[in-house]
Symmetry: C6
Subunit: 256 residues, 6 copies
């Protein structure tokens, strides 16, 4: 199986050489966990170190704010854009479609228009720069539209299928909505070929960050939760450290 | 990235110099946690110490009661109003719109009228005093209107977009509805650039207050839960103290 | 800020001199926690010791049973009624309105009729005795009518606004529905100026009662959970005692 | 306040002399906790020892089975019936009403017909034997009909009002649906004048039964959870024993 | 009260002589807990040792598979069938009724047809072999049809009434859906005369099986959770062993 | 009872010789637990070592990706396909049926068309290669279509019935959606003859994998949770190791 280095050394070690190429990998985390930072770091590394043009598709965040925030890690996204090594696409207008849309003679509902439009936007932009790496951040905007589970699964599978057919290596971010290891697992986690979880929780006496490879098909990998930090260089992962586990601190009054 | 000092020393230290300017930051806490106090302190400091006119938009609380309560911290809001350094706007009439409203030839539903009206009210008042800081307290009144998740996300994103376009630094308060660290995360937390949580919980043997920067894009920050107090001066934060963690006290009868 | 003594010494100490006058304060507790006893004690003290006529509005409880039960604390409510120092109003007929009601040319729905009627009943009776203190027991009957969150918040805010406009100091009781500190917080707790919680829970090895001031705007107050008892004199609070925390007793078989 | 002895010595001690007369008291417990046994014991004692004719209204259980089961405690219900000291009424046919029913010119819905019928059945039978004690077992059949909270509260309050107007001392049983102290509290618990809970749970290393007086208006009472047993004589309560608290047994592997 | 031996020695000991005759007893457990084994053992014992013909009504499981599986315990069900001592009825076709069915002039809805049909099937087969013991496995197929709580309770009560009227001793199995002692109690548990729970859970350091008599009207019984095993002879219960309690194993890092 | 070896030595030991032949066995696990690996290993072993042609039916995963991923374990699925020892069927087009479909004169709804089509696809392909082992991966796509519990149970039972009638030994995978032992049990677990759970959880201080035979009718089996690993050879199970239990790590501050 071919591999694609993320550029985050500790993570590439946990993966024994990088992500499986040409797959859809989910990056799942809460607010402030570093999903966007990790994804951008992955694209930046591809564009700057591997000669792999990269595409960043933003569904929620404002693109100018994104460039400003990532600059603090020393990543000059605007410069890469000018050089054609990176494309940043604002897909949020899709958010504003209300009601049905007519395409030719066909009336398409808002939801399916979003999906079709998004796939078109991605294909077009990926082709333009001959992208090898793609980030979709986040997919939540897409999945929340479907209240029917069956429709949602189908939409997710179709979407991942379209991405995979581009031959690119894809990171798709999604929101981890409960701050606990004992959680409900989301549909997307069953439908991708890999899942990376970014946990932020209490261990011993303080809040720590832990990265976990919950699933990575076709690749032998470390499945413990390892510590990671957000530093001036982006995400740093420490796979040689002891595994992290969530600890509930309790004061116990012993009756002996 | 530019920074805006909150005037709460401990918090500015945790932020390494203040909030990121021209962003929307969420302040999330339960009843009695100090959301309104923190927000008012931020505006008061801006108006009095930084020469930055400030706008306070109240959606639920009665304005006269607010001025009376904040006076106990030595903040004379009425005086700042007269000097044009502070504007306090009562946006609660938006609450009473029932049914649809006609604007020109267009019929707008109650919900969207609330959103449009609120944005208009904010823009107009911000312009009048040339505001540099804005507080919206709370945003809950707005978000609860949307039962459809997709509509709610869109409304929140549009609202934050409108605020950010004003160039002001904005604190938006919201209600933390469960008294536990293991909670459901709200949409707004994923959609702003920063989130400050005000926890009130049991640690060891008493109730304590802990402030946590869950997320702050573009800024290196302390992500532990640090103690804070509500004193005669408003909110005081103690970042050099040991991090707080929720402790469940248990009496254990040991069977040895 | 003006203060109004409750007459419960320990509680007045926790409040540093009494409740903030002319505000709506929520008293929240489970069955048997003492909500009605505390509220009646507050009114009785006002009527007998402070020369402040008081109004008790009952939405659920039978008035004769109430007088009988409060007599066990030595409070002769019937006598105070005769002297015009106390009015006890049975607002429960509002419960029986079914369907819409016509007022003049206007058709008003059952829910809004309840709200309007209740406010009218309160105003009229408060005026008659020139009330300075009011108790609404409980507000639940009102809030449960609104399944839509937005409508409920609006109804609650309107109701509290009407009460506050009377200039009286108001205690409003509500039901705490889960016997745990880790609970869902109710809308009303965010919308009043103060919240007092009456907990009944396990601490160490027995059931204890703890009173907590969760929120009290404009007043510096003790925010720990302090023990209280229901004695022959009504509610007694012990603020100098160690704070209470919920303890889960666990028998642990140690494997050393 | 007048009191009515239950005949269960330990419980009468916890109540300092018995239940408050002419009130509605809720008896709340899980399957097998002894609700029916306690209620029957209360009626039997009244009929045999206090010369107080008693009425047992059964909504779910088959009457013949009930008599057979209670015989094992030495209570000969059939004999008391013959002597006119006890009436046992099978109110379950009310269960089978489907759709609306016409009474005179009035069409009454199934639910309200149940309520009206039940009250009529109770009144008629109570009058016949001049009952002083009544048991309704269980009220669940009535409350489950109302999905709307407001309607349910109103129905419960109306029902308790009708019972109280008979001047009898009433025990109403209801189902405790979760086997945990941390539970959702039911509407009925807020709407009666007293609540007795029958817990069955793990304490230390075995399952125990604990009786708790959660609420008892107008009466000073023991509010701890005290052990009780179901013996050959019915329910026996042990108020002088240490309070019971729920214990979760945990095996802890200590890392020292 | 008459008793019926189950043939499972340990359980008959816990019951002090067997189940109460002519009653409906619920057997409640998760997948793999042994509900079907226990029920079959009960019937087999009745047919072979007590000269009591038995009826097994299967709603979900394939009958041939059942016979094959029970053979591993040495129970030759096919032989007993031939001898007319046991009847095994496949009631699953009831599952396939879709929509309404016409019986004579009457249109009956699918749900009620299921109930009526099932009762008819049971009566007819019980009569044929003069059954003294009946097993319904499981009742879930019946109860899940009713989303309205009131309808479900009524259906369950009617069903149990019909069974009881046959004079047989009946075991009815149902599914325990959460693997925890802290669970929601099901309607059926309140509506039968006895409930036996089959728990499978973690105690100390391994998974154990525990049988508990939650309720058994008219019979003095052991109410602790006792260990049981599934052996080559079927279910074996060990009432003399220490009670089992659910243990959560926790590794604790002590801070001394 | 006949048995079918899985080829996973440790699991065959736990089963005392293999799975019960000609039955439907559920394999239930979270993302990354190894459901697909275990199922493929079972088929591969059957095809290569037992001369039993095998059929793999994929409902979600892309078939080419599957072959690539399984190659890392040394299983050359493409080669087995060519030799007619293995058939891999992509059943996902069933996913795309929208609305009703006409078959002959009969209009069939999408859901039932899926079920009928799936069964046809399976029968046809099983017949072609004379399959002895079948894997359906996953069944979730089928079950999620039915929101009505009764319909879902019926669909599942019908599906399992159709599979069993083929005489093959069948593994059906399904998604374990909560990462906790204290979970809601799914319908399918009650309706198959065997259930194997693949847990991934925290034990002591790291994440471990544990395999549990929750249920296996007709076969005496080990019911503890035993450790398993995903190695270069596929799934390896260690039945001689100590049972695994979920451990919550807690730091306890002892107050002695």
């Amino acid at each position: 199986m071919n591999k694609t280095l993320t550029g985050i050394d500790g993570l590439d070690k946990m993966l024994n050489g990088g992500l499986p190429s040409s797959r859809c990998i989910l990056v799942c985390g809460g607010p402030g966990s570093g999903k966007t930072i990790l994804s951008t770091q992955f694209l930046h590394y591809g564009a700057v170190r591997c000669g792999e043009p990269s595409l960043y598709v933003s569904l929620d965040e404002d693109i100018n704010q994104l460039k400003e925030e990532m600059a603090s890690f020393g990543w000059n996204l605007a410069k890469l854009e000018k050089k054609g090594k990176l494309a940043i696409v604002d897909a949020s207008p899709i958010r504003h479609v209300s009601g049905d849309v007519k395409i030719g003679d066909l009336w398409i509902g808002k939801r399916d228009f979003s999906l079709v439009s998004l796939i078109e936007v991605i294909k077009r932009n990926a082709k333009e720069i001959n992208a090898k790496r793609i980030v979709i951040d986040p997919i939540t905007a897409l999945t929340f539209q479907y209240s029917d589970v069956q429709d949602r699964r189908t939409a997710i599978l179709d979407f991942f299928e379209a991405l995979t057919n581009l031959g690119t290596t894809n990171l798709v971010t999604t929101e981890l909505r409960s701050v606990t290891l004992e959680r409900e697992i989301r549909d997307e986690e069953f439908l991708t070929q890999g899942v990376i979880l970014l946990h932020v929780f209490v261990a011993e006496r303080e809040i720590v960050r832990g990265i976990q490879i919950e699933k990575m098909r076709g690749i032998d990998h470390d499945n413990q939760i390892r510590p990671y930090k957000i530093t001036g260089n982006g995400i740093e992962v420490f796979p040689q450290e002891e595994p992290l586990v969530r600890v509930h601190v309790r004061a116990s009054a012993l009756q002996i």
